[in-house]
């Protein structure tokens, strides 16, 4: 092809005009199409453009990391459902602003070694105006232990008479040791003394459910805004799945004077930290979390930064199943001696709010009078490479090995997963000459592999269920199914049994102190850090409560200051 096609200017100009015409027509077409689609998708619903804080209407707009799976209190297990349920329902006892136990539906209560009695207030009402009675609690608790409900949290009720037998299908549901003595008195029979029973009452699983309403929902209880009855400070008035959950002040709530805003609008469901901070910058939401990247910007802009300790502990767990090298105490000691939690927190995570791990018991737990960790300080294991190598040599001798086989470190694809596992891989290689194979799995697969024992080391953690050291202390008891490394120490089991049944505070705390010592000297795990979050709150929003046990964050007491 030697001759160039007629590509002359005249042709180009006329073709260009044609293109322009097509372009103009397409733009008009697109605008019309968008209007049409917008009209059509109005059926699917969506978020309206509103301000993060609107003082005129008393509205606070917020984001949720994800949508609650469902809001049936007997079946809910995740933190988001717990937060939502905390705003729209209320149990016998609730947490006050300082975390102290405050009367909820129950005016007062009495707990002995064998029973608990709650006197319910007469003015507690459901959102349809009918009173909340003791029968509503009996119905909900029976449903929670019913095997047909298949509640994952049924175990939390096992201190109640016959609860365990009912859940295993060996006793009729009506035999549960919970009785309504009239409308306003609830009596609970206990199988063993439970020193923290009042603290348990705060938990979602113990919320009331009214039988007639539940039956009317035909198996869809808690699936939609109109499939739930409310007795908390707020009610859900609009729930568009995947898009919006809007709460309005509950006019029937007995303590409605403490609720100062009219609307809490969770208008965005997103866990993308950058998207959330962009929404905050644009004034669309009132609270946003910060990550490593946007922390600096927040500092430069002098935003008021808050930090909060989530109450959990993350640790590296060893596998104690037969034939695993990590059964050897000296090897575990060697690893414990080279892992430096300070280095992890300050050089790897590099985000304020996180604390280096020193013990399985986090710093916030209460002891006798003050904090547990102040009364029973954990021995700090200082990094010591020389001693670590000595322990390693002992381990090799006892195991009869020249060199140790490669160890598998199991982790999941969480945000900090990679940095952390690479740090451990390099540290253990440099200091001890160990070969670490990283096995990175998605969350569910990590759990499956943990349960199957397919690991040597695994990064795991624990979020407390109730504010008592026992929620951590029984983790490594041989009978606990969360003890996925199968750590077995008869002395520890004995101590856990003491802590479970003793009602004497001093004895219990001494026992926890002893458990803490054992967990450091014969480690089933090495504590890494206590995770924290850093976040910004619009300065006009006051009274956001963050707490470790119970639901978090708590917006029930917030107020808007200024305009």
């Amino acid at each position: 092809m030697t001759d160039r096609p007629a590509n002359d200017d005249g042709f180009n100009r006329s073709a260009g005009r044609q293109l322009l015409l097509i372009a103009v027509v397409s733009v008009i077409g697109i605008v019309l199409l968008m209007l049409g689609l917008s009209w059509a998708s109005g059926l699917a619903g969506g978020t309206r453009v509103s301000k993060g804080i609107d003082a005129a209407t008393g509205t606070v707009t917020l984001a949720l990391a994800d949508e609650p799976p469902q809001l049936d209190s007997t079946r809910s297990t995740d933190t988001i459902s717990s937060m939502v349920l905390g705003h729209v329902t209320e149990g016998l006892i609730r947490n006050g602003e300082g975390g102290e136990l405050t009367p909820g539906v129950a005016e007062r209560w009495k707990i002995t070694d064998t029973s608990a009695t709650f006197w319910l207030r007469a003015d507690a009402r459901w959102s349809d105006g009918k009173p909340v009675t003791a029968h509503d609690f009996v119905f909900a608790w029976r449903k929670a232990v019913d095997p047909k409900t298949a509640s994952e949290y049924a175990t939390i009720l096992f201190a109640i008479k016959n609860a365990e037998a009912i859940n295993k299908g060996r006793a009729p549901i009506s035999s549960l040791g919970v009785q309504a003595l009239g409308d306003n008195v609830l009596r609970v029979e206990l199988v063993r003394p439970v020193p923290y029973f009042a603290k348990l009452m705060v938990f979602s699983t113990f919320r009331p459910i009214r039988e007639d309403f539940f039956n009317a929902t035909a198996g869809r209880y808690g699936a939609d805004a109109d499939m739930l009855l409310y007795n908390g400070p707020f009610t859900i008035t609009r729930w568009v799945h995947g898009a919006q959950l809007r709460m309005e002040k509950n006019p029937y709530y007995w303590d409605k004077d403490r609720v100062k805003v009219k609307v809490l609008d969770f208008a965005y469901f997103s866990s993308d930290p950058n998207a959330l901070i962009n929404l905050y910058k644009d004034g669309k939401i009132a609270v946003a979390g910060l990550n490593q990247e946007n922390l600096n910007e927040a500092l430069v802009k002098r935003w008021p930064i808050n930090r909060f300790q989530r109450g959990a502990v993350f640790y590296m767990e060893f596998n104690h199943r037969k034939d695993r090298p990590t059964t050897n105490l000296h090897l575990r000691r060697a690893i414990q001696l080279v892992i430096d939690p300070d280095e992890v927190v300050y050089r790897v995570i590099k985000l304020p709010g996180n604390l280096p791990g020193r013990s399985l018991f986090p710093v916030w737990l209460d002891g006798n009078q003050g904090k547990f960790r102040e009364e029973y300080p954990a021995t700090q294991v200082l990094p010591n490479a020389v001693e670590a190598r000595r322990q390693l040599a002992l381990a090799k001798k006892e195991l009869g090995l020249e060199t140790l086989p490669p160890l598998t470190l199991l982790s999941d694809d969480g945000a900090l997963g990679d940095k952390m596992t690479e740090y451990f891989q390099e540290t253990l290689r440099r200091e001890l000459g160990l070969t670490i194979r990283i096995d990175k799995q998605i969350f569910k697969q990590r759990l499956a592999k943990m349960s199957a024992g397919d690991f040597d080391l695994v990064l795991g953690g624990w979020n407390p269920d109730y504010p008592d050291p026992l929620t951590f202390a029984d983790l490594f008891a041989s009978w606990n199914s969360n003890n996925r490394g199968r750590y077995n120490n008869p002395r520890l089991d004995q101590l856990v049994a003491v802590a479970q049944t003793s009602t004497d505070v001093q004895t219990r705390m001494d026992t926890f102190g002893e458990i803490q010592r054992i967990l450091i000297e014969d480690p089933p795990m090495v504590p890494i850090y206590e995770p924290g979050v850093v976040y910004v709150v619009d300065p006009r929003l006051q009274g956001v409560v963050r707490r470790v046990a119970g639901f978090d964050p708590d917006y029930t007491n917030v107020s808007i200051v200024g305009k």
Partner: protein, 310 residues
């Protein structure tokens, strides 16, 4: 024509059955299951859960039950959204993804055709070089970068104007749709531009175009009837898979812009091993893809009279 259509539809059903079976087997081969959670449950509670969801039956029996339900269009109830039917999830969230996808594909195809035609007209001149530079950028930069940049640009724009011209995230009005769909369509637009350019250039050198010019047809008629119409054919070919790809691949854009589309459920279900939602969304998207390909093949016959559908 009709025989062809029916033949393709039957092939499509077989393909969808294959997708469903392969997904079913792969899903159950993966370690773990939807019931394993952060907190270990006692064997009794686990048994209760398995009985509730019918997972205590042998796999073959589960497969038969599953196929039966599938034939009736019932995908079951989600494991993670415990009170929602998979059908509800698809019905509520697919329209959002589809809206986003349709707009994105319109942006991509119109943009691709216009830019592609422009580069061909100004071959090796400045407009061509400039556009092709952006095309390379559009093809090589992943969509989450564009999504983040697009959102940041919106924040800056609103900050500069002093009021919210376009919302930063969320869904519901026309203003919510513009930037996400542009971002979603960008990669495809770049790809189509390149495709359009090369097919235009091929035609510019063809004999029938020279003939058309020689017999003195007006330039506008040559351009639209002969050049554009013939050059669009390859674009139409890739449009089918692109529509399905864009509609199903909107997860990143949906999560950045907090859009309640189906893409989010599609990806989360896999992470959570939510069996019923994995099966539901996979079969749904699979059927959608198959249907789109068939539609494009039929459309071919209308655009190009040389193609006979037999």
């Amino acid at each position: 024509m009709w025989r062809y259509t029916i033949k393709r539809l039957i092939q499509g059903v077989v393909t969808v059955w294959f997708i469903a079976t392969a997904t079913f087997l792969a899903m159950h081969a993966v370690p773990g299951d939807p019931m394993s959670g952060d907190r270990a449950v006692t064997p009794e509670i686990r048994k209760n859960l398995e009985a509730k969801y019918g997972l205590d039956k042998p796999l073959a029996q589960q497969y038969v039950i599953y196929l039966g339900n599938l034939a009736r269009g019932d995908f079951g109830i989600s494991f993670t959204q415990q009170n929602r039917e998979v059908n509800d999830i698809i019905r509520e969230h697919f329209p959002v993804s589809a809206t986003l996808g349709i707009l994105a594909i319109v942006f991509a195809s119109l943009g691709g055709i216009l830019w592609g035609a422009l580069t061909a007209l100004y071959r090796n001149k400045l407009p061509d070089i400039l556009i092709m530079f952006f095309v390379i950028l559009g093809i090589s930069v992943p969509s989450f970068v564009f999504a983040a940049l697009g959102q940041l640009a919106l924040v800056k724009l609103n900050d500069f104007l002093g009021f919210s011209l376009l919302p930063v995230a969320g869904w519901g009005t026309v203003s919510h749709m513009l930037v996400p769909s542009l971002v979603l369509g960008l990669g495809t637009m770049a790809y189509l531009t390149r495709l359009m350019r090369s097919s235009m250039l091929e035609i510019i050198n063809s004999d029938y175009l020279r003939t058309a010019k020689a017999k003195g047809l007006p330039a506008t008629r040559i351009f639209t009837r002969h050049q554009l119409r013939n050059a669009i054919l390859p674009v139409v070919t890739v449009l089918g898979p692109s529509i399905a790809g864009i509609t199903t691949g909107s997860f990143v854009v949906e999560s950045v812009f907090a859009i309640p589309g189906l893409g989010r459920y599609f990806v989360q279900a896999v992470q959570q091993l939510d069996y019923t939602v994995i099966m539901g969304t996979t079969v749904f998207f699979g059927s959608f893809l198959v249907l789109m390909v068939i539609l494009v093949d039929l459309l071919y016959g209308f655009i190009d009279p040389r193609v006979r559908l037999e």
